[in-house]
C-alpha cells in the first residue's frame, strides 16, 4: 500500500520554491513522486482491452485465508457521491456488480456524504452486517485509518480504492498511478507548448484534499524546472462562474496568459470560455476526460491535453474482492494504468452521444445498461 501522507515532513527534500509557486506542499513525497513518474512509462500486465484489470508492477499477495463459497455479500463504504466523477464511477461499480450478479447475492452501499465522522460510523455499522468483503473509498486518508484497521481486525477482507489509508492492513489498495502523474503530465504539456518563461495560471479546486494536493505538488516541480512564471494559484471551488471571474481578472491584469494548468477538469470549460469572452486565443491548457471539455477541445481546436484519473477504477474493487474471496492472488498495491488523452487519441474517447459531464475513461461500454445507465 502506498502511504501518501506517511512522511509529512519530507518537504525539505523537495526542489526549491520556484517563482510564484510557493512552498512545496507537505504532501510531497519525493520517493512516491519518482515512483509514479516511472510508472507512467511502465508496461502493465493484464488484458489489453481491460485496463481496469491491468496492473503496473504487480506484487502478488496470498489471499487463501479469505477463501469462501459464494454467492457473497459485498459491502461498500463510500466517501460521497457528491460530484460527477464519483457518480459515474459508482454507476460503473453498480453495473459491474450486476455483471457479476451470479456471484454476488447482496451489495450494500453506504454513503458517508463527505463526512469522515460518518464514514467511521458507517464502517463500524457495516461490521455488524455479515459482509463477506468490505470495500472502502475513504473520505480522507489519515482520518479513516483507525476505522479501516478496525475492519481488518474483524477478519474481513478489506479493499481500499481511490484514496488510501495509512496502514498495510487492507488486502489491497487499488488506484491508478495517482496525483503526481496527473499533475506532472498536465504541467509538462503546458510548459512545453507555451513560450518559454511565459505566464501560467494554476486553477485549483479546493485546498486540503490529498489527491489534489499531490497533483499540484507535481505540477509545481515541473513548472519550477521549466522556469515558467506561475502568476497565480487560485482556488475555484469548482465553481465555473468564479473561475471565469478569476481568469478574466488575470487576463486583464497580465495582458496575456500563456498557459493554464488545472488540478481537475471540472471548470476547464469555464476557463476556456473566459479566454473566448475576452477575445483572446486560448493558451495551452489541460483538462480531464470529461466530455464537455473533450468536445470543446475538438470543436475549438484547442492546444490541450487531458491527463485522467480513470473512473474505471470503480470496477476493480469488485473484481478484486471476488478474486480474494476465491482465494486467488491479487496484487497489493494494485496500480492501474492512467492513460492520457492527447490530440492523437482524442477522437477515440469523444462520444458525442454521452452527457457533457460523463467521463470518457469509464471503461463501461461493455457493462450491462450501457449507455442508458450513465445518461
Amino acid at each position: 500500500t502506498d502511504e501518501p501522507a506517511a512522511t509529512p515532513s519530507d518537504s525539505s527534500s523537495a526542489p526549491a520554491a520556484g517563482a510564484g509557486t510557493g512552498e512545496q506542499s507537505k504532501f510531497f513525497v519525493q520517493a512516491d513522486y519518482d515512483n509514479e513518474l516511472a510508472l507512467l512509462d511502465a508496461a502493465p500486465t493484464g488484458p489489453a482491452d481491460k485496463p481496469w484489470e491491468q496492473v503496473l508492477n504487480p506484487t502478488m499477495v496470498d489471499t487463501a485465508t479469505f477463501k469462501k463459497a459464494g454467492p457473497h455479500k459485498i459491502c461498500f463504504s463510500n466517501a460521497a457521491l457528491n460530484n460527477p466523477w464519483r457518480q459515474v464511477g459508482f454507476k460503473t461499480m453498480q453495473a459491474e456488480v450486476e455483471a457479476q450478479g451470479d456471484r454476488i447475492k447482496e451489495f450494500v452501499h453506504v454513503d458517508a456524504e463527505g463526512k469522515d465522522q460518518k464514514q467511521i460510523a458507517d464502517i463500524n455499522d457495516l461490521l455488524g452486517k455479515g459482509c463477506d468483503a468490505l470495500i472502502v473509498s475513504p473520505n480522507t486518508t489519515a482520518t479513516l485509518t483507525p476505522a479501516v484497521e478496525a475492519a481488518c481486525k474483524a477478519g474481513l477482507p478489506v479493499v481500499v480504492f481511490d484514496r488510501g489509508v495509512d496502514t498495510d492492513c487492507p488486502v489491497t489498495f487499488i488506484n491508478p498511478i495517482g496525483g503526481y502523474g496527473f499533475g506532472h503530465v498536465g504541467a509538462e504539456f503546458v510548459s512545453q507548448r507555451m513560450k518559454p518563461g511565459g505566464k501560467v495560471l494554476a486553477l485549483r479546486i479546493l485546498p486540503g484534499v490529498d489527491v489534489l494536493e499531490t497533483r499540484w505538488s507535481a505540477a509545481k516541480v515541473a513548472f519550477d524546472k521549466a522556469q515558467v512564471d506561475v502568476v497565480g494559484v487560485e482556488f475555484t471551488d469548482g465553481d465555473p462562474a468564479k473561475t471565469k471571474k478569476i481568469v478574466n481578472d488575470y487576463i486583464q491584469r497580465h495582458g496575456t496568459i500563456d498557459g493554464v494548468w488545472m488540478d481537475a477538469g471540472a471548470v476547464a470549460v469555464a476557463a476556456v470560455e473566459a479566454f473566448q469572452d475576452a477575445g483572446q486565443p486560448v493558451p495551452p491548457i489541460n483538462g480531464e476526460d470529461q466530455l464537455d471539455f473533450l468536445k470543446m477541445w475538438k470543436d475549438e481546436g484547442l492546444t490541450a491535453i487531458a491527463p485522467t484519473y480513470p473512473t474505471y477504477q470503480w470496477r476493480t474493487p469488485i473484481i478484486a474482492a471476488l478474486r480474494i474471496l476465491d482465494g486467488q492472488q491479487v496484487s497489493a498495491p494494485w496500480k492501474l494504468p492512467q492513460p492520457t488523452i492527447t490530440q492523437e487519441n482524442l477522437d477515440s474517447y469523444l462520444d458525442p452521444n454521452m452527457p457533457p459531464l460523463h467521463y470518457a475513461m469509464c471503461g463501461c461500454t461493455d457493462l450491462p445498461g450501457y449507455p442508458q445507465r450513465w445518461k
Binding site: 457528491n82 460527477p84 485549483r204 471551488d237 465555473p240 491584469r253 459531464l357
Partner: protein, 327 residues
C-alpha cells in the same frame, strides 16, 4: 375652546435618510481607488461594463434578499434555488435553441413558486424563515441531485447563454453593454420604484412591527409571502444570468445565499427587518464583488482569501453599524 389649530410640522430634515449609506459609499470608493491604483484600466468602459455585467446576479440576489430581510425574514434558499434552476434549465433545454424562451418562463415561474412555498410555510405554519428556507435549501439541493442522478444533464442553448454571456456591441461611449447589465438596470429601477410605492413602505412597516401593521389593515402574511416570491424571482433571474455566464454546474449557486445576506448587511440593512434601503443592499453586493476583484488584482493568495474577505466584511459592517446605533 379652539384646540384644533393648524401648526404644520417643521420641514423634513435631510439628516436621517442618507446617513445610512455614507459608510458604505466610503468603503466602495476606497476599494475602487485601490483597484485603480493597481489596475488603472479597470475603470475603462469595456472592463467596467463587463465587471458590472458579471456582478449583476449577486446584485439582483441582494435586491431579492432585501425584500425578505426588510420584511423581517431570511431567505437561505436562494443559492440552492439558483443551482436547481440552472440544472433544470440545462436538462429542459437540452441544447435545443427553440426551447429557450419557454424554459426561461418555466424558471421564472419556478422561482415564484419556491418563494410562494417559502412564504406560505413561514407565514401560515409560523415556521421561522431561517428554518423554512434552511429546510428548502436541503430539499432543493437534494431534489436536484436526485432528479439528475448526481450529474447535470443536457446543456444550455447558446440563446439561453446569451443573457449572461453576451453584450450589445458598439454602444456609443461605453463600447460593449452586457445584456446582464441591461437586465440589471431595468430590474434595479423597478425594484427601487417598488420600494417607493405603497407596497414597499408597507413591507418595511411589516418588518418593523407586524402586529401594528396587521392592526392597520395590512395583510401581513400576504405581504411577506410576496417578499419571498420576489426573492425567488430574483433567484430565477440570477440563475438565468449565472447559467448564461458560466454554464451548468452544481456549484452554480453554492454560497450565494450567504453572499446575498452579507451584501444586504453591508448595505446597512438590519437583519430583523424594518430598516435599510434597497439601494444600500445592491451597493453592498457591488462592494462585495469589488472586494473579490480587488483580491484577484492584488494576487492575494488563494488560501488566504477567506481571511482577508472575512476581515474586511467584519470591518465594513462594524463601521456601518457603529454609525446607525449611537446612543
Amino acid at each position: 375652546m379652539q384646540l384644533v389649530k393648524r401648526r404644520p410640522l417643521p420641514p423634513q430634515l435631510a439628516r436621517v435618510r442618507s446617513g445610512g449609506l455614507l459608510p458604505l459609499l466610503a468603503i466602495l470608493v476606497v476599494l475602487l481607488v485601490l483597484i485603480t491604483v493597481r489596475q488603472p484600466d479597470f475603470l475603462a468602459p469595456a472592463s467596467l461594463m463587463s465587471f458590472l455585467g458579471r456582478s449583476a446576479p449577486l446584485i439582483l440576489l441582494a435586491a431579492g434578499q432585501y425584500f425578505v430581510i426588510v420584511s423581517g425574514e431570511f431567505d437561505l434558499s436562494v443559492g440552492s434555488l439558483v443551482t436547481a434552476q440552472v440544472v433544470v434549465a440545462a436538462r429542459l433545454i437540452d441544447s435545443d435553441p427553440s426551447r429557450t424562451w419557454p424554459v426561461v418562463l418555466v424558471l421564472l415561474a419556478g422561482g415564484l413558486a419556491v418563494g410562494l412555498v417559502n412564504g406560505l410555510i413561514t407565514t401560515r405554519l409560523r415556521v421561522p424563515s431561517f428554518i423554512t428556507t434552511l429546510g428548502m435549501f436541503l430539499i432543493l439541493v437534494g431534489a436536484v441531485y436526485l432528479w439528475s442522478n448526481g450529474a447535470p444533464k443536457g446543456g444550455l442553448s447558446e440563446e439561453f447563454r446569451r443573457f449572461g454571456r453576451r453584450a450589445f456591441e458598439d454602444v456609443p461611449l461605453l463600447g460593449r453593454m452586457p445584456y446582464a447589465l441591461v437586465i440589471l438596470l431595468i430590474l434595479a429601477t423597478l425594484a427601487v420604484l417598488l420600494m417607493r410605492s405603497d407596497f414597499g413602505r408597507v413591507l418595511v412597516a411589516v418588518g418593523d412591527n407586524p402586529r401594528t401593521a396587521e392592526l392597520s389593515g395590512v395583510r401581513v402574511h400576504r405581504t411577506r409571502t410576496i417578499a419571498f416570491m420576489l426573492s425567488g424571482l430574483a433567484a430565477a433571474v440570477a440563475a438565468i444570468l449565472i447559467g448564461g455566464y458560466s454554464g451548468v454546474s452544481f456549484q452554480a449557486g453554492a454560497g450565494l445565499e450567504f453572499g446575498a445576506i452579507t451584501a444586504v448587511v453591508l448595505g446597512g440593512v438590519a437583519l430583523g427587518g424594518g430598516r435599510g434601503s434597497i439601494v444600500g443592499a445592491m451597493l453592498g453586493a457591488l462592494t462585495l464583488e469589488l472586494l473579490f476583484t480587488l483580491m484577484n488584482f492584488y494576487g492575494v493568495s488563494g488560501a488566504l482569501r477567506p481571511t482577508v474577505q472575512g476581515a474586511i466584511i467584519l470591518f465594513a459592517v462594524a463601521v456601518s453599524t457603529r454609525r446607525s446605533t449611537s446612543r
